[in-house]
Structure formats: C-alpha cells, structure tokens
Symmetry: C2
Subunit: 328 residues, 2 copies
C-alpha cells in the first residue's frame, strides 16, 4: 500500500510538532520571537549522494540535516528555536527509512531544544532531498556576521579540523592521512562525517566577543577566505596551530592540505579583537568548548595565506566545492 | 565552464536580496517582525515533473514557486514579507534556465512586495527541486486557521475552481470538460496552471471576518474535508454555485467532479459566520476579489457532501494526491 503525504505526516511528523505548529494541521506555523530579540534564519539543503551517502543510516541523516543548520545558527550567536522541513522522497523510500530519519530528528530536537514548525512532504521520483530552514533568536543587533573582522583580530577555531573529510574519505575507501587510524579512531572520524557536533555552547561567547564568525562547512581555508572577503581584509593561518583529529597523521604537505581544505567540519571560525581574547577564552572554557588560536586577520585583500614551517603551504584547492553544471 | 554556487549567487540571486539578507554574503538572514505582529511561516517544495512540467518556461516556474507560498500566506490573513529559497539543480540546468527562473522571481517580488532573505543552491543530479519557505506578518493573534469554523458558518470560495487542473490536462493532452474551450480560453487555463494568482488582496478581509480559511491547492472537495476536520464539523457544498472557468463545460457529473477535485486552484476557501457575511462581501468587493457562497458548515463529522441538482454528486476521488511509495 503506498503511503500518502497525510499518513506520513500523521505517523512520523506530528509527534515532532512544537509550539506554533498547530499539530501540523494548518498551512502555516507561527513564530513568536522573544521580546528584545530578532529572528535569525538559515537554510541548508541536503541531497542523497551529495551531502550524505545513500547507505548512511537514516537516523544520522536526520541528525545531520538538523545539525548543519544548527551549526549556522550557533556561528551567528543565535539560540535554536524551530525549523521547517521540506522533504522530497524517492519512489522507493520506505517506512523503515522514514522511521529512522524521524527518530534522528526527535533525538536532536531534544538535544538542541529545537522544534518542528511545519514543512512539506513530496514524492520527487529519484533520490532524497532534505530542505531545512532553521530559526534562532539573538539579542536585537547582536547577530555575529561574516563581516566585522578587523586587521589585527585573532583567528580562532573550535575543536579539530579535517575529521568530517577524513570520515567521508574512509567511507569511500580513499587513501590519505587517516590511513594509520585505529579502528576506533576510524569509527570516530566516520561518526563526525555523519553526525557533526554543532558548537551551540559557544553562541553566547561569539555574540559577546567575536567581531566576525562563521561555521566551517566547506573547508577551513576557503571558508576563511569568505570571512576575510566579507570583512574587507585577509589573514594568515599558521597550519601547525590547527588542531587535527586523533588518527590523522599528515606526513606530507599534500596530506595536511587535504585536512585543511576538506568539508563537513561544522566547527566555528571566529575573529576576536585582541582586547577581547581573554574574555573569549575564559567564556569558551567555561562552556566546555575547545578553541585554538590559529592566526590573525591582516590588512589586504585576496586569499588567506596558510603558513607551514615558515613557508606557504601549497594548496591545490581551497575548499570542497560541489561543482555545478551549466553554460555561463 | 561549470558554474559554481558562488557565481550563481553573484549573478542571479544577489540582485534579489532584500533587507535582512546582508547581500547573501552571510550564513543567515534576519527578520524584523513589525511591532504588534507575529510571523507566519509556510513552506512548499516543487519538483520538476510533479509540480511543474519539465518544459514549462523557467519564468513561470519561478513565479509559481513563489505564488503557491504567497497563496498560503494570504489564506492565513498574512501580508508577505520575505522568503528563503533552497534550490536543487539538475546536472544539465543551464544559464538560460537560471536567468528565466530568477527573472520570474524578480517580477513577482515586485508584484507581491516580497524579498529574498537567503537560501542554498546545490547540484543534486537529476531533476530540479525548488524549496521555498515564505514569511508573512499578521496582527498578533489574528492568523486565520483551518480550525475555527462552526456549524452554520457559510462557505465561500474566491475566483473559479478547476482552471489549474484544466490547464494541466490540456498540456498533457487529456480529454475533459475543457475540450470545447477556444484557443484563447485554453491559453488562459494553461496560464492559470503555470502562474496561479494568489488572493493577497483578500487577506485583510479574512483576518477580520473569516472563522477559518485555507487555500485550495489539492482540489476543492478534499481541501474542504481538511478545513472541516480541523474545525470539528462537516459541510454541504452546492456544486451548482461553484464558479467554473470560461471554456469549461461539464456535460456530465464525472466532468463536473473532475473540476471540483482537481488541484492547482490557489483560490481561497473560507468559512464566514452569518453575522459577518455582509462585512466580508463588502470588503472582498472593495478589494476587487470575486467571491461566491458555495455552501455551509454543518454539525457532524466525515467527508463533506457535494450536492448537484439536489442529489449527491458521485466522486471517484476527493483530491489530487501525489501518491508516495512505501511499505507501511
């Protein structure tokens, strides 16, 4: 018996509906923005075979769809509120997939205090496409932008860089600086690819101390290029100061570059004025978020310089880019 | 040369960015909800071959993607503010398609006073998937719901019912009550399928006078079932009072049922208490929106009764449903 949209909503999505969703029985939801706050909105679309693998467990697909959006909210200093889920299902998407997917959503709704506000479910033929629009709140005027960084500001990154790219490469059987990882380390790298850990605990520190911030989703170097372009400056990153995940041993500069330009980190890159470094570090430590100072913003334009052992690190690419076809 | 996401944003989407979008250079946008208002959020996903035809002009695809969402906002009594666009492009989507699609968006942003707030662009392989999340504002507590209708309330519908379904059938070469339409009438029916006309002018009248409302997108009868279910009652529709579009001549009850249960109308179905009928009619007339009284809500549960020449109209389906595959 084919499932229709209404029975999918009844069975899988209604239990996830939060305040303002009217039990998903209406055509729209309502967001009540807390007094003195403004609403921050972000969106990420995930497609099977592009942003997750077709045989990834559906629970982790649901978690990833939410977490990549929550990561954007955190980088803007915002607290998660709710989300809209538009879902394009393949003709052969079955009940088991939907059950796992919504179980992943349920778990992360609880972990991150975010609720389903509404959405749309469709059969689209081939592939699965997940489109999430997520909402967060921030004190009015306190959203952290990509712009706002100034020459002299120090550059920080949370956690470790390269775990997501390493996990994806391991799943694809590609060689690289993760080859010597133990079974347990490999599992952890794969886990980081499938279920990123958005740094929501850092949001208040960013709102208070950062001059600019963004989440690192397409590779540290390329994303730093974007922050600098928006801030009207450039930067130097000292590659030796960038924390790398356990199990990755970059024995060549090529291998190191693979980690610094891979995608799927969902860590946060932040610029912090020198006078605010102590406050930022202390607040991050109190929040339990590991941070590392990896360089600084400098006057100028153009791509960020990545230095390794005192010399420019050769980079064959700067970011993980999903190429788009077309005739410009 | 393949287009990448950044050049697509630069070329096509940045010119559409509105207030709060930060020129699409950030990871999130900000919505400032007018004082005393609440934010109404709705979402619709459109997939090539399902919600529009692969050879529909890209301008009309852009217009339809926005208008189906604006129609939901209007039915809730809300004024359009902004929208998020997540776009999954096919590997062979070319520059001409993007140019036409964004031209359609631009035109309708102007027509409906709505601005692009942000989004995401991806290559997803096959097909095109368009996911829009739209925002509107309504006076706090004045959103019109599907629930709220009471037995005795009169049922109204705007415009004409069946034009969208007739237009789609004509494009597919399917026979029906549109067979005798003149070339000009056929063009108009096809136009209504491709470019629906959301009833934004009626939003204030709905907020003031309607007890319940929704837009008619999946067929009048099935959508009326939904409004009644949410309102805890049922209804009688007098088929002879439902306005049909020029060029459609339902010579059989089967043909009449095709029009009343086809999709893609994007008209508004509203329940109005008897004491408010005069106010509703006068306000709709002043706004230039044609309305017709087509029945009334009655106590009870279950499917709405459609009466034709005093007898129940036989209905082989109640709504246009995109079947979903799956193993429940």
């Amino acid at each position: 018996v084919p499932l229709d949209e209404l029975s999918i909503i009844d069975r899988y999505f209604r239990p996830l509906a939060g305040k303002g969703a009217f039990g998903l029985t209406d055509d729209a939801g309502v967001i009540d923005v807390p007094d003195g706050c403004e609403l921050v909105v972000t969106a990420d679309m995930l497609a099977a075979g592009k942003h997750f693998l077709r045989d990834d467990p559906p629970e982790t697909v649901g978690q990833k769809a939410l977490r990549v959006n929550i990561s954007d909210l955190a980088a803007k200093g915002a607290t998660p509120l709710s989300y809209i889920l538009s879902l394009g299902l393949a003709d052969d998407t079955d009940d088991a997939w939907l059950r796992g997917f919504t179980e992943g959503l349920r778990r992360d709704q609880e972990s991150f205090g975010i609720e389903l506000l509404g959405g749309d479910t469709n059969a689209i033929g081939r592939g699965i496409v997940i489109s999430v629009t997520a909402f967060g709140s921030v004190r009015k005027g306190w959203m952290v932008h990509r712009f706002g960084g100034r020459p002299g500001d120090m550059l920080y990154v949370t956690g470790e860089i390269g775990a997501g790219a390493a996990g994806l490469a391991l799943l694809k059987g590609e060689a690289g600086p993760w080859d010597a990882a133990s079974k347990q380390e490999q599992d952890q790298l794969v886990r980081r690819y499938r279920v990123p850990a958005p740094r929501v605990e850092l949001a208040p520190a960013l709102a208070e101390f950062a001059s600019a911030a963004m989440d690192v989703s397409d590779g540290l170097v390329g994303d730093c290029d974007k922050l600098c372009a928006a801030s009207g400056c450039t930067a130097i990153i000292d590659a030796e100061t960038v924390p790398l995940p356990a199990g990755t041993v970059p024995e060549s500069e090529t291998a190191l570059a693979q980690l610094l330009t891979g995608g799927d980190d969902y860590e946060i890159l932040a610029a912090v004025p020198v006078a605010k470094q102590d406050g930022f570090s202390a607040t991050a430590a109190a929040a339990g978020v590991p941070i590392a100072c990896i360089g600084l913003l400098i006057a100028g334009t153009g791509p960020v310089s990545v230095v390794h052992e005192g010399r420019p690190l050769p980079l064959r690419r700067r970011a993980y880019v999903h190429a788009m076809a077309g005739k410009p």
